[in-house]
Amino acid sequence: MQSEELIRRLAACAEPVRRLPHPIWRAATWFMLSLAYAAGLVFAIGLRPDFSAQVTEPRFVIEIAAALLTSMMAAAAAFCSTCPGRPLWERLAPFPFLIAWLATLGEGCWRDWSLLGPQGLSVEPEFGCFWKIVASSAAPAILILVMVRRGAPIAPYLTTCLATLAAASLSAAAMLLFHRQESSVMVLVWQFGSVIALSGVAALFGRRLLYWRTVNLGPVDDERNSHC
């Protein structure tokens, strides 16, 4: 088929489209819905026994704030990455908050080391933590993937990675409220580590989850019946 003929047939079947809302609005919608879901989850499970003591610790508050901001900015970056022509720096937006979160955990590990020595950095196997993050982030992850699929799959691996990072970070923030960890290194390995691992694994499925849609131009010989 000649390109001029293709243009004619594409235009013949072009219907009015509903423009995609601004990525920030889409990110805000997802974040509010997912935050309500996470709040419901915390309410259903109950706050951790030492919550009242922890909430007075600045490090704990910074940790939760960093996880929530990582989630929010990763969602915004994921939505921006599905809009062609937007600046590339937008895709890096969650990383300062991710680094801040890592730094808070690192500071906690340093403090545990100073107080307890090598005992403070011992890591116990706690795979339950990983599965709790997987289970609690499933619904927000499905929601954000459905939402990003409306955009253009120009960077499928990165978009999937950022979308999963958003869902898993929110889940990790919620876990800090209902799941007690004895030391910072355990949070670093089993919560932060799970978030990074899930985002990395999800990125591998980027091409399968986000792909270019096909166009049905209808039969070639009868232009009057062409449809999209």
Partner: protein, 193 residues
């Protein structure tokens, strides 16, 4: 044309395309045809520039046009049109090049397709005659029952049932006789060769 005139022309073109795309999103088909027709020559240049050795530039250009069509709802009229279009064109050209590389990794280019049968010459009259003699000789060495079974089923072409009626032997017995006869003849011919 001076630089400032060229810049003015580019700005005017950008504004025109933004307006055309906005109209196309609202369902104006004439504006859509106009827009796609105007960007077509530029897309050909971009694809040829991004993938200089593309086997078929027009195929990739058409992929870009189809992609523009499927994601036209992602264009924000408040933002410039060219970066939006160029991102899609670049992405689809890279995708096409990757697909081509992946496909060609499993292909071998050959000038002449290899034949799927042996190139040996046909047998000479003498060789055919020798083979027939060998078969006759091997057949002659068989016990009477086995030779009769081979003659009826392999040379006269009777079915197992027909051969059973002819000889009065059971079908199972004839099967065994033919199997043993063929094995004996094969060994006899190997020995002669």
């Amino acid at each position: 044309m001076t630089n400032s005139q060229s810049d003015d022309a580019k700005i005017a073109r950008e504004r025109r395309w933004q307006e055309l795309m906005r109209a196309a999103q609202d369902g104006d088909n004439a504006a859509y045809v106009w827009l796609l027709s105007e960007i077509l020559p530029m897309l050909r240049r971009v694809v040829a520039y991004k993938w200089p050795r593309a086997p078929d530039v027009e195929d990739v250009v058409q992929e870009v046009l189809l992609s523009v069509h499927t994601v036209r709802h992602t264009y924000d009229p408040a933002r410039p049109f060219m970066p939006w279009l160029m991102t899609i064109a670049t992405r689809r050209t890279i995708d096409a090049a990757r697909r081509r590389t992946a496909r060609s990794a499993n292909e071998t280019t050959v000038d002449v397709m290899p034949e799927t049968f042996s190139g040996d010459d046909t047998k000479s009259e003498q060789e055919i005659s020798d083979d027939q003699d060998a078969i006759r000789h091997a057949l002659a060495q068989l016990p009477d029952g086995q030779r009769e079974a081979v003659e009826l089923m392999k040379m006269k072409g009777l079915s197992l049932q027909e051969a059973s009626i002819e000889t009065g032997k059971s079908v199972a017995s004839l099967k065994v006789s033919v199997h043993r006869a063929m094995k004996s003849m094969r060994e006899a011919m190997k020995r002669e060769n």
